[in-house]
C-alpha cells in the first residue's frame, strides 16, 4: 500500500507540474458549459428574411410587418425581381424569401382563397423546415385574425405539457452531453497519453523490472485521473445549477456513483488504447480521432438516436457515452431512482469489465 501511495504522489507531481495541460483540463469544461449555456442553441432565432412583394398593398404590408415583429425573423429586405432571389441566397445571409403574387390580395378578398410562396434556402434542411413552419404559423395567425367574426365550429383544443423541461431550455439537454464528452475524452486521453509517455521515456521498463505488479502500475497511473475527473464533473454540475438554474430532481448520491462508474469506464478504455499504441502520438490520434466525433455524434448528445438509420442505432449501443447520457438525464432531469436505470447501469458495468479484461490480456501479450 505504501508503494502505491508513493506512486500516486508521483503521478500528481506530473499533473501539477504541467500547468498548461492542467489549465486546459479544467478550463475546457467551464468554457464548454458556458458556451452551451449562453451561446449555442439549436433553436432558430434572428433569421434574415426577404420579401418579393408584387402585390404591394395594405394586406401584404401588414403580413410583412407581422413577420418582422416576430422574434424569429429580422432584417427584412425587399426584392424586386426573380433573379435577385438566387443572388441573395448565394450570398448566404438570407434564409427565406416570401413571394406575394400580383393578385394575392385581390384573390383573398374576392375568392376568399389565395396563395403565397415561401422559398427557403434548404442547404440546412432542419433550419429550412423550421423557418417554413414558423412562417406558416404567422400566416395562420393572421388568417385567424381576419376570420375572427366567423363562428368557429367543432374545435379540438390541444393542451400540451412539456414534461421535465417546461421552458424548453436547450442547456438542459446539452449539460449531460458536455459532461459526458469531457469525462470521456479527458479520462481516456489522459490515461492513454500518460501510460504511453512512460513507454516512450523508458521508465515503463524500469517499473516493470521493479517488484511492482503490472496491475499496480496501471492502477497507480489511473487513480489520480479518477480524482481529477470527479472534480470536473462537480464543476460542471455546479455551473449548471447556479448559472443555468438546472434542477437536480434525483439523488446526488446516485449521480455521483454513476459518474464514477462512467469515469472508470473511460479510464479503462484509455488503458486499452495505451496497450495498443507505442507512442504518445498514436495514443492521442486514436483517442481524439477515434473518440471525439463518435462520442459527440453517436451518443444522442446533439442528434437524436431514434432518427438514425438502424445500423447506426446498433452501433450507438456500443458507445458507453450513450448509456451514460441516458442515465444522467434520467437522474438529473426526471428524478428517477436506480430501479428505472439499472439496465443502463449494468451495461456500463459490463463494458467496463470488458475493457479491463481486454487490456489485461493485451498487456500480458506484450510481456510475452
Amino acid at each position: 500500500m505504501k508503494r502505491f501511495i508513493g506512486f500516486i504522489k508521483k503521478e500528481f507531481y506530473h499533473i501539477f507540474r504541467d500547468r498548461r495541460s492542467l489549465f486546459i483540463l479544467f478550463g475546457m469544461p467551464i468554457a464548454q458549459v458556458l458556451l452551451f449555456g449562453f451561446a449555442i442553441t439549436n433553436e432558430i432565432n434572428n433569421v434574415d428574411v426577404a420579401f418579393f412583394d408584387k402585390s404591394k398593398d395594405a394586406i401584404t404590408e401588414e403580413i410583412i410587418n407581422k413577420i418582422e415583429a416576430s422574434k424569429y425573423f429580422t432584417n427584412k429586405q425587399m426584392i424586386t425581381n426573380d433573379a435577385e432571389i438566387e443572388s441573395v441566397f448565394k450570398k448566404g445571409k438570407v434564409k427565406a424569401v416570401l413571394v406575394f403574387d400580383t393578385d394575392f390580395s385581390e384573390k383573398l378578398t374576392k375568392e376568399n382563397k389565395t396563395t403565397v410562396q415561401i422559398i427557403t434556402d434548404a442547404t440546412d434542411p432542419n433550419t429550412a423546415n423550421t423557418i417554413n413552419n414558423y412562417l406558416s404559423s404567422i400566416l395562420q395567425k393572421y388568417q385567424q385574425e381576419i376570420n375572427k367574426e366567423i363562428k368557429i365550429s367543432h374545435q379540438i383544443i390541444t393542451q400540451t405539457r412539456m414534461v421535465y423541461n417546461p421552458e424548453l431550455k436547450s442547456v438542459f439537454t446539452f449539460v449531460p452531453g458536455v459532461m459526458t464528452v469531457i469525462l470521456m475524452l479527458v479520462s481516456a486521453m489522459m490515461t492513454s497519453i500518460s501510460i504511453t509517455r512512460e513507454k516512450e521515456l523508458g521508465t515503463m521498463e524500469i517499473l516493470l523490472v521493479s517488484p511492482l505488479k503490472p496491475f499496480q502500475v496501471i492502477l497507480g497511473k489511473v487513480f489520480p485521473y479518477i480524482f481529477l475527473s470527479v472534480i470536473n464533473a462537480v464543476v460542471i454540475v455546479l455551473l449548471s445549477i447556479f448559472i443555468f438554474k438546472m434542477p437536480i430532481e434525483g439523488s446526488l448520491f446516485l449521480f455521483g456513483f454513476e459518474s464514477v462508474l462512467f469515469i472508470i469506464n473511460a479510464l479503462s478504455l484509455g488503458i486499452l488504447i495505451s496497450t495498443i499504441s507505442s507512442t504518445q502520438q498514436t495514443a492521442m490520434m486514436i483517442s481524439l480521432m477515434g473518440l471525439m466525433l463518435p462520442v459527440i455524434l453517436l451518443s444522442g448528445f446533439i442528434f437524436p438516436i431514434a432518427s438514425m438509420p438502424l445500423p447506426l442505432q446498433m452501433i450507438s449501443h456500443i458507445i458507453p457515452a450513450k448509456w451514460f447520457i441516458i442515465i444522467i438525464k434520467a437522474i438529473l432531469l426526471k428524478g428517477v431512482g436506480l430501479s428505472f436505470i439499472w439496465k443502463e447501469t449494468l451495461v456500463l458495468i459490463g463494458m467496463t469489465l470488458f475493457f479491463i479484461v481486454l487490456s489485461v490480456k493485451k498487456y500480458k501479450i506484450r510481456l510475452e
Binding site: Q143, I157, E167, M289
Partner: protein, 353 residues
Amino acid sequence: MLPIIFVLPLLQLVILSNAATFDIKNIKFSYVDHDKTSFSRALIEKFDASTYFNVINQFSSKKEADAAMAKGEVDVILEIPRYFERDLLKQNKTVISVAINAIDGAAAGVENVYINQIVQDFNKNAKVALSQPSDLINAPKDIMAIPSFWYNKTLNYKTFMVPGILVLLVTMITLFLSGMNIVREKEIGTLEQMNVTPIKKYQFIIGKLFPFWIIGFGLLTIGLIISKVIFNTPMVGSLGLIYFYTAIYLLVVLGMGLFISNFTDTQQQAMFIAWFFIVIFILMSGLFTPIESMPKWAQILTEFNPIKYFVEVMRMVMLKGSSLIDILPLLIKTTVYALIMNGLAVWSYKKTS
C-alpha cells in the same frame, strides 16, 4: 500512423454523416383513451398512420403512462378524455391533453408542431364531415402557403452534413499533425540538429508544413469522392474554387498548429491546446447548430473561427453554386487570417530558437 490519418477520418465521414440528422422520426408515441369511441379511435389512427410517430403502447391510466415516460419508454403521451366524441358533437368543443418529454427542448418543439398538425388535420376533416350546408356560405378566408425548398428539395440532411464533417476532419487532422510536429522534434532533440544546418528558418518551416498541406488536399480529395459516390452530394459550384479556397484555408490551420507547437514543450500539451480550440471551433462553427441563433457577442466571436468560414464556403459552393464574387468576403477574411497566423508562427518560432 498512416491508417489513423486517412482511414479513420474517412470512415467517420461515411458513418457519422448518417448519424447527424435533426429529423425527428420514430417518435415513441403512446396514448390513454378514456373515451373509446369511433372518433377517438380515428384520431389515434391518424397518429398511427403518420411517419413521424411509432405507436408504442396504450395505457389504461395516466399514472402508468407517466411511469413509462420516466423509464424512457415513451416520449409522447396523448390523453383522450371521457366524452371526447360527445363534447365535440354537442358542445362544438373538446380538449385533449398531450405530454411531451421535453429534455431535448428543440425536439420537443418539433414534436409539438407535428402533433398539432395531425390534430388540426383531423379537426378539419371532422368539420367537413359534421358541418351543416349553411356553414359553407360564409367560408373562412384561407391563405395557403406553398413551400419550396431550394438547393435541397428533399430536405436531405446528409447533403448538408457531409461537406461540414469533411471540413472538420480535414481541419482536425492537419491541426493535430502540424501542432505535434515541431514539438516532437523538440522532444526528440532533432530540432537542434536542424538549427545548426545551413537551412534557413523559413525554408525549414515550409519544408515541415508542406507535407501536411499535401495531406490536407489528399483528405479533401478522397472526402469529396466519397461524398459524391456514397452520398451523391451535389457539386453545383466550381471544384477549382473549392481547391483554391482550401489552399488558403490550410495555411491558417497549419500556421495555427505551428504557433501552438512553438509555445509548448511536450506533445501532450500541444495536443491538449489544439484539442481545446478544435472543440470550441466545432461547436461555434454553425456545423451542428445555426450561428444566427447565437447572441450577438457570440456571433462576433465566431468571426475568429476559421472552421466557420470553411464550412460556409463548402456549403455555399457545393450546394448553391456560389461564385468567387459570392465568397469573396469570406476569402478575404481567411487570407488575412492566414497572414496573421503565419506571421505569428514565424515570429514565435524565431523567439524560441
